[in-house]
Symmetry: C2
Subunit: 195 residues, 2 copies
């Protein structure tokens, strides 16, 4: 079990065919999740290609997330949550917090991704749009987006299977101004399952 402390990120190598569970330890916490092809990180999960691939805003159980080359990289194996996730919004980054009025440094999913990828040997990385597990961004009738607290409770989880060898990074989103984490960021856990 890999603990992702509140406001931090962690990366892990996952082999083709291996599954992993992303667990919302305390509930109500967004997990920004990224996946890169292990032997060429210029290929990575791409939200805009996945939406076109599944003709949906978010895949259903049994469907795939694909890369910027439209190659399946992750499969949604199991969803033990209320089924609310986001794939519309960029990772939070320093400019996001400046725009929200924060002065000085604030942890962000972008920096968490960059640090985790550096720890895996990749100090230079494109920042893809994440799979925002547990994140509650309803699309209203006129195309407006809501920013609601994550509806998960402690122990809720999503299981994903890697379809190619990949590097997976999960960030326990440090957002504490917009209420997506109930204004109280908490940890996430990654459980690698047996191949």
């Amino acid at each position: 079990m890999i603990e992702v402390p509140a406001r931090e990120g962690r990366g892990v190598r996952v082999a083709a065919g291996q599954s992993f569970r992303v667990i919302d330890v305390d509930g109500g916490q967004v997990a920004d999740t990224f996946a890169f092809r292990a032997d060429d990180i210029s290929e990575y999960h791409s939200a805009e290609h996945t939406r076109a691939y599944v003709s949906r805003l978010f895949p259903r159980v049994g469907e795939h997330f694909v890369t910027n080359h439209r190659r399946p990289i992750l499969r949604l194996e199991e969803d033990l949550t209320p089924g609310i996730h986001d794939m519309l919004c960029a990772a939070c980054d320093p400019e996001r917090y400046t725009g929200l009025g924060v002065e000085g440094w604030h942890a962000s999913c972008q920096e968490n991704l960059q640090r985790a990828m550096a720890d895996l040997g990749h100090p230079d990385v494109e920042v893809p749009q994440p799979i925002n597990l547990f994140m509650n961004i309803p699309v209203l009738a006129d195309g407006e987006l809501g920013w609601e607290p994550a509806p998960t409770v402690a122990g809720d989880s999503v299981t994903l299977r890697a379809e190619i060898d990949c590097l997976v990074v999960v960030s326990a989103c440090p957002q504490d101004i917009v209420p997506i984490n109930g204004n109280h960021p908490t940890p996430i856990a990654i459980e690698l399952l047996d191949l």
Copy 2:
């Protein structure tokens, strides 16, 4: 007036403060539109940052499109169309057409972008998610996406204003299998307006 022939793309430099009109010449034609910061093309229009910035699937007239650094790059000045546009789907690319059963080469918005940026002196370019002007991808109640013909008629247009010096590329989408262009790709025009 810059003609963008059917199935092709064209790039143009636009100065900060200058507006340009993207015109659907014959109607029913999707225009994939990209914008890069002129003096550093690693900064470009980003759909996932724009959605978060305006809290909508697509900006309204008077609102901004922002870059991957959340900096305003284009402003939606005027919309003389039925108001249907897409910012969910990746540019079509060789893998898209292979997946649709095409054998051999097929023109694509990705290659049109790459060629247009090479003509502007940038042979190596990240492929961002485009602003798909005139494209009709309805979001259904359960998150399913439709792929419908563009509802524009001949001469419909959108006017955008550059907020920083930028390189703009417009591709007259060559998609002729999925019916977004009525299975008959036609030209687009770009009209640069006086500063």
